[in-house]
Symmetry: C2
Subunit: 550 residues, 2 copies
């Protein structure tokens, strides 16, 4: 009787659902069948526009998968891309993973030697590269050993003879390609962290994680990507797959606009108007430039309907949100990391906040927001999990089906995961009773002053609210007495002026004396990482021997 | 060398993502943490409203899971519910699956003997039942052997002594319950088909399929369920989990209104206004009654913002869509089956259709629509797959991660799946070049007349466009010469009048002579199934010996 009961359960526990894998060929087939005429617009290096379609993507990505297979690509092999945002890169986004290979998007903005190190570490077998980027490749060519370098005629008509021509490679493939058997936990794409702190580490996204992440981005309460959208992914496709937006676009059949290497603010605005863009994503520094352009040219661009501006990578200054709103460009703040695919939280209002004052709403929208479905957050302190009180600061830990569980071949990095399997983000933050995350700082960027912590992010946000300041970056600089003290680097707006005293008084409204920067340094530019974030490691080195006035 | 290459791939093919299962405890935890104050409103049998919250759901569902475990429920055991739509049923929706059991929602509208057969077939160990439904249970109690019958004090204060009181059972559990290890392919809920044709068959949804289906329903291009919504699921929770809406609501933290047994059209409208409902789902017959109520009481209900009306189960008549639109109630047509969880297609417009005339848009919106992400469709004919030409009729086959791959313990039903694993829906339809599905008829409901097929659905839709007709149902009735001929059963609107001749002339504008019903029969009501569809099997039997005039 007992055994019978046991047997019964063995049989019945499983559901009767189909065994159906979450893999990228499903998205490609869907786009080819349902959205063949939807446009993909690419801006060439010479600034002309080329119009392609999902029908062409379908045909060419399958051809590429077929051609790669003929070249001997085996399941799990790494195929590298070094390309700008354009329809060709999108073909590789599907062609490589649908052949069973893992697409490794190289960050072309890194130092050539670092690109070589990363390609070698990842054991990339093939490289697909834009012709206009060959000069970068040639700087590190001697240090890498790709079996074949396939050059995409993107900026020029012809391809140098010593390389394979992408179009000729494509011609060897067939669009009748039969996908290999792919398990949903197989690697699909690979990306290295942008390394604001220390060396780059690799993350391998799986077919399953990309599919689930795309589903999450199509939800109303996140990116709300829809078939009715015209998307302008300004984040580079080598930076966490342009935040996954191209995959979500293909799943939903949204029209896409890809800008290539030239992302001048005026061109962004022109394209937003001419192509009726409904949503765009980029780091705040891009939006700061766009806002400047708007303010410099009153009346030149007019948006009939609000455009969703997805901003991530670092917190958007409050003042930026307020001013962009007036132009109909509505910022949605997203938080995530390369290790989280990246979508982890979005700064939407909770339903009960809809009637709040605009000012109170901004304060919520500027925070990192609440986790999207299937993403879990917690704040950890040495003594254990912090309460969700909006005050207790600790390290933000995250868990979910599109969060990295390890780095690619970096066994020394195991301490980045808690013993119970959560990813330690290195961001310090709080969670309030509504579940809303606020990042106080990167743990390495907090200024440690006399046993107290000062948030560089809060100071930067406040400084960027000053009418004369374009960019502000605060770093902790060694101090003989206080261990570290905050130093603020400021870039003024063109033609604007402000004295240190004025700025000090402006800040004093919101900060205690000990939280205030001890020095303000006016600079022409602030160095940025390959993805547009302030490069604080460099700045800390540069100001390491700063002499504080007593 | 070759072996080394092989080994390398074994290691590297998998991605570096976390092993994170798609299971329902994740939704429950999310709602408890992020949405504790969001309301769940239940309408009692005496028509009073009770306000509960996701905080209470979290606490009570965990208590239930704990209590069930203490009662000896083992992973995979079936726990049956026989309940109306209310917060208590929602507790069981989570409490049972989160204990590792499979929730079996019994269809309380079936014949008591059929309920008993289904419960026995599913080997349900426990029954959780609303007090007001005990009279139904007592009709089949002698034929079933539940280990315990747990009665929810929903309509009355007290529970008869010979049953366990749900509140007392809950009190034995702890909200500190620790979830058992659940695999995402484990069964979560179980539902039997409504059986418009033949006997009921069981489908066991998995944790994975429910999670993925919920993610799909929160996408902009499908249901667009959002945290900002106030949802009114009118489809019964025992009918494919009210189309999955309660699970999606908990995932997104949407406010929910649950109406219980009394779903009078005036009460639906009152609640929609008083609770600011933004979306509701039900079969077309419900919306026909709602429209009648609106037309009978001009000016009584006014909607400031359009309400999304999700209609499924059968095609909404065009006239219904047009008229509902005028009241701000915008019908979205959904197609699916119990076997597809049920979301398979939605009748949204494609982006290029946005500028079409309203009339042309209605014709698209009345079709079944295009498949949601991860759902694949095809039309099969004896000679193979039909082209997507919008003309070639064949059987609709479907595939996807929330589509049944078999029935529960029905090995004889294997022919319902194609050899390559697609589910044969029994619906006959076409797919057009846009990928839009149009169901012509259930294959059993097509009228086979002299070698030609006549769609009963098309005739019904046209008839329901006549101003005097409230409901129309067309069935094929045996005919000595033509094999079958269509016979139309008509229910006139209150106080309305129309002659057969008038109706014949009205139809003749759109149908050929041979497609027209040979007879029109005026009736008081048309028999319906437990989920509100026309019961054509019964009608065919009833009219089997109909004498056609020569």
């Amino acid at each position: 009787m007992r055994l019978e009961g046991h047997l019964r359960k063995e049989i019945d526990m499983h559901g009767t659902m189909m065994d159906y894998s979450l893999v990228l060929p499903e998205f490609l087939e869907r786009a080819g069948k349902l959205f063949p005429k939807i446009e993909i617009i690419s801006r060439k290096p010479d600034r002309t526009l080329v119009r392609s379609s999902y029908g062409a993507l379908y045909e060419r990505a399958k051809r590429l998968a077929s051609a790669l297979t003929k070249l001997g690509v085996q399941p799990g092999d790494r195929v590298a891309s070094m390309m700008w945002n354009h329809a060709g890169h999108l073909e590789v986004f599907f062609g490589a993973p649908c052949s069973g290979a893992i697409l490794h998007t190289l960050n072309l903005r890194l130092h050539p030697q670092e690109i070589a190190n990363i390609a070698n570490h990842a054991q990339d077998r093939f490289l697909i590269i834009d012709d206009v980027l060959l000069p970068v490749y040639e700087q590190f060519a001697k240090d890498v050993k790709f079996e074949k370098v396939i050059v995409v005629p993107y900026g020029y008509e012809t391809v140098p003879r010593n390389y394979a021509n992408y179009e000729e490679v494509l011609a060897t493939g067939s669009s009748e390609f039969c996908y290999p058997k792919i398990a949903e936990t197989d690697g699909a794409t690979m990306c290295f962290t942008s390394g604001t702190t220390g060396f780059s580490k690799g993350v391998v996204y799986t077919h399953r994680s990309v599919v689930l992440h795309s589903m999450a981005e199509a939800m109303v309460d996140t990116f709300a990507v829809s078939h009715q959208d015209v998307l302008l992914p300004l984040a580079p496709m080598f930076h966490a797959n342009a935040w996954g937006v191209p995959y979500t676009a293909v799943m939903t059949g949204a029209k896409m606009v890809l800008m290539g290497p030239n992302v001048e603010p005026s061109a962004i605005l022109d394209l937003m108007i001419s192509e009726k863009v409904t949503a765009a994503n980029a780091v705040p520094t891009v939006w700061i430039s766009v806002l400047e352009e708007l303010e410099k040219n009153p009346g030149r661009w007019h948006f009939d309907r609000p455009v969703r501006i997805v901003s991530g990578g670092s917190a958007p200054p409050l003042e930026l949100m307020r001013k962009m709103d007036r132009f109909g460009l509505r910022i949605l703040h997203l938080w995530g990391l390369t290790e989280t695919s990246p979508l982890a939280t979005t700064g939407h209002l909770k339903s009960r906040m809809q009637d709040w004052s605009e000012e109170r709403k901004y304060l919520v929208r500027a925070k990192q927001g609440w986790p999207v479905p299937l993403i879990e957050l917690r704040i950890m302190r040495p003594e254990g999990e912090a309460p969700w009180d909006g005050e207790t600061v600790g390290e933000v830990e995250v868990r979910g089906p599109w969060v990295a569980g390890s780095y690619y071949r970096e066994p020394d990095q195991a301490e980045k995961w808690s013993k119970d399997g959560w990813f330690r983000t290195g961001d310090m933050g709080t969670i309030d009773p509504e579940g809303i995350l606020k990042i106080v700082d990167r743990s390495k960027d907090l200024v440690k002053s006399g046993g107290e912590w000062i948030s560089s992010v809060d100071l930067e946000n406040a400084l960027m609210g000053h009418p004369a300041i374009r960019e502000a970056c605060v770093v902790g600089v060694p101090h003989p007495r206080w261990q570290e003290r905050p130093l603020a680097l400021l870039v003024l707006k063109q033609g604007a002026n402000a004295s240190k005293q004025e700025i000090r008084e402006f800040l004093a409204k919101d900060f205690a004396g000990w939280q205030m920067p001890d020095e303000f340094v006016f600079v022409e530019t602030i160095p940025k990482t390959s993805v547009g974030k302030f490069k604080k490691t460099t700045l800390r080195e540069q100001y390491a021997s700063w002499k504080w006035r007593e």
